[in-house]
Amino acid sequence: MRIVLSTESTGLAYFPGLAQDVTIDSQQLPEDAADTLQRLVQEANFFEQPDDVCGSTRAFDIRQYSLTIQDGRRRHTVTLTDQVEDPALRALLAEVQEVAQEKRQTPAKGRRGSKTGKPQDNNSRGSNTGQGKPSQEP
């Protein structure tokens, strides 16, 4: 199973380090951690969730995520915020965030829990930002 956590908005401020996409390959996690993720994905009925579960509330400075999971031939992306109401989906997001945070804080080489010990790519998409003179009106 492969999980990509993309943080679209890092909240009250923009933190480039926290905005980097994190890819989690369950084959590179300890067995119990991989089992936990697999169970949470099933309990959340992730592949049956709608594309957008952000709800109807208009919020400012809230964190927004895109969570993409591929498991075998199934693949699905859900956009959500920290205010997600579904407790099972909330538990899945919390676990993914926990693993992602650990990956961010651990140097690429010799990450704890990696079965292969291979360095992992924390930023497969890049930040897609650039500087330059823009139009002054949107």
Binding site: E8, Q20, F60, D61, R125, P134
Partner: protein, 378 residues
């Protein structure tokens, strides 16, 4: 409700559109028809392993997909401009309610303090109560504004949201505080409280769209009024203040930085292994084009933030006396549209400065000079 349409991925520009296109903004009509149906992880593979042309196209499409989702959030209904405002002969009084979410994410949680009740033993609840009070007092004492909506809205705060939550937000009904894990507790920062509640003020006034330049202006308004609320409590004049947003969040942590943002020197607030480096620009020549962060609303706000700092320090005295008055009247200006970019906003600040202080005033010149210094041509 304004609608934006993406024209030209390389140019990364959004323009307001009218007419029949309004209903097509969230579908694939404006995008590459094949890349629209390719799943994100396949696109990522292309972005990593494809030819340079394929990689560029895949990267753009991935970013646009994410931004389309952000667009849907940005387009949700907002409160009508001044629609709830009503005339009343009663003296405005502040009303606060503080809830405890008990580390859950269901709002609002348990009511732990109402207006006039004694403080509890929870320091976080006390800080939230006091902070909401300082915000109400500032808007009423300085601008005679009756709460966030200028119609006596009860201010509601929620503390202990989620577990170790490193954020605070305004959801149009509640100001929500995390306890922090990387950061300190979010109730400790008065300018952050002012920042969040000012999102409510903006929502009820200009209603600046939370996207691209209007979104950066929305963010800047929150920083401008948030920092003035803190400066008033500290009795600091413009030239005495440090103009750092959220400095208390970094106290007692291992983070390498002095705050979330610097209005005095945008782009210098933090440089940390986990957070990354502050990338706020202070000038239009450094404007950051991005599809993250709702089009860089927390990034490019550095430009109007710095303009306000320049006006306030040029005029001297307390920031809310002149610079703050000009910005507040601009926010209430009926000619400031929700889709305004930096140039249109800057022009309205000039108009308000001229109306308030005269066409040959030092105040008007200070505003002109500030926008010139940050590279916004008016």
């Amino acid at each position: 409700m304004p609608v934006f349409m993406f024209i030209g991925q390389a140019a990364a520009q959004w323009v307001p559109v009218e007419g029949p296109e309004r209903n097509t903004m969230c579908d694939c009509a404006q995008r590459h028809p094949i890349l629209c149906i390719i799943p994100p992880d396949i696109l990522e593979n292309i972005a990593r392993n494809g030819t340079p042309e394929q990689r560029a196209e895949a990267m753009n499409t991935l970013a646009v997909d994410n931004t389309m989702r952000a667009m849907r959030l940005a387009q949700r209904r907002r409160a009508p401009r001044g629609g709830d405002r009503r005339l009343t002969l009663a003296t405005p009084t502040k009303t606060r309610l503080i809830y405890d979410a008990h580390n859950d994410t269901n709002l609002p949680g348990e009511l732990v303090r109402s207006e006039g009740q004694a403080a509890t033993a929870d320091q976080t609840a006390t800080e939230a109560y006091d902070g909401l009070g300082h915000v109400w007092d500032f808007y009423y004492d300085i601008f005679e504004r009756n709460s966030i909506d200028d119609a006596g809205l009860t201010l509601k705060g929620v503390v202990h949201f989620n577990r170790g939550y490193d954020n605070a937000f305004w959801d149009s009904q509640y100001m929500v505080f995390g306890d922090g894990k990387l950061f300190g507790r979010f109730t400790a920062s008065l300018d952050v409280i002012g920042h969040e509640l000012t999102h409510g003020v903006t929502e009820h006034e200009a209603g600046l769209a939370y996207l691209m330049q209007p979104g950066a202006l929305n963010e800047s308004m929150s920083d401008v009024f948030g920092i003035m609320i803190k400066q008033r409590v500290l009795n600091q004049k413009a030239t005495e203040a440090n103009w750092i947003i959220g400095e208390e969040l970094f106290h007692g942590t291992h983070l390498q930085g002095i705050g979330l943002r610097s209005m005095k020197a945008p782009g210098t607030a933090f440089d940390d292994p986990v957070l990354g480096k502050d990338n706020q620009p202070a000038h239009m020549s450094k404007y950051v084009r991005t599809l993250k962060d709702n089009g860089g609303v927390h990034i490019n706000s550095g430009i109007p933030n710095h303009a306000f700092y320049l006006v306030a320090t040029a005029l001297g005295g307390y920031a809310w006396e002149k610079a703050g008055r000009i910005w507040y009247e601009t926010l209430r200006d009926s000619q400031l549209r929700s889709t305004a970019g930096f140039t249109r906003f800057a022009r309205r600040t000039l108009a308000q400065a001229s109306t308030l202080y005269g066409a040959k005033s030092a105040e008007l010149k200070a505003v002109q000079d500030a926008w010139s210094q940050v590279g916004v041509k008016v």
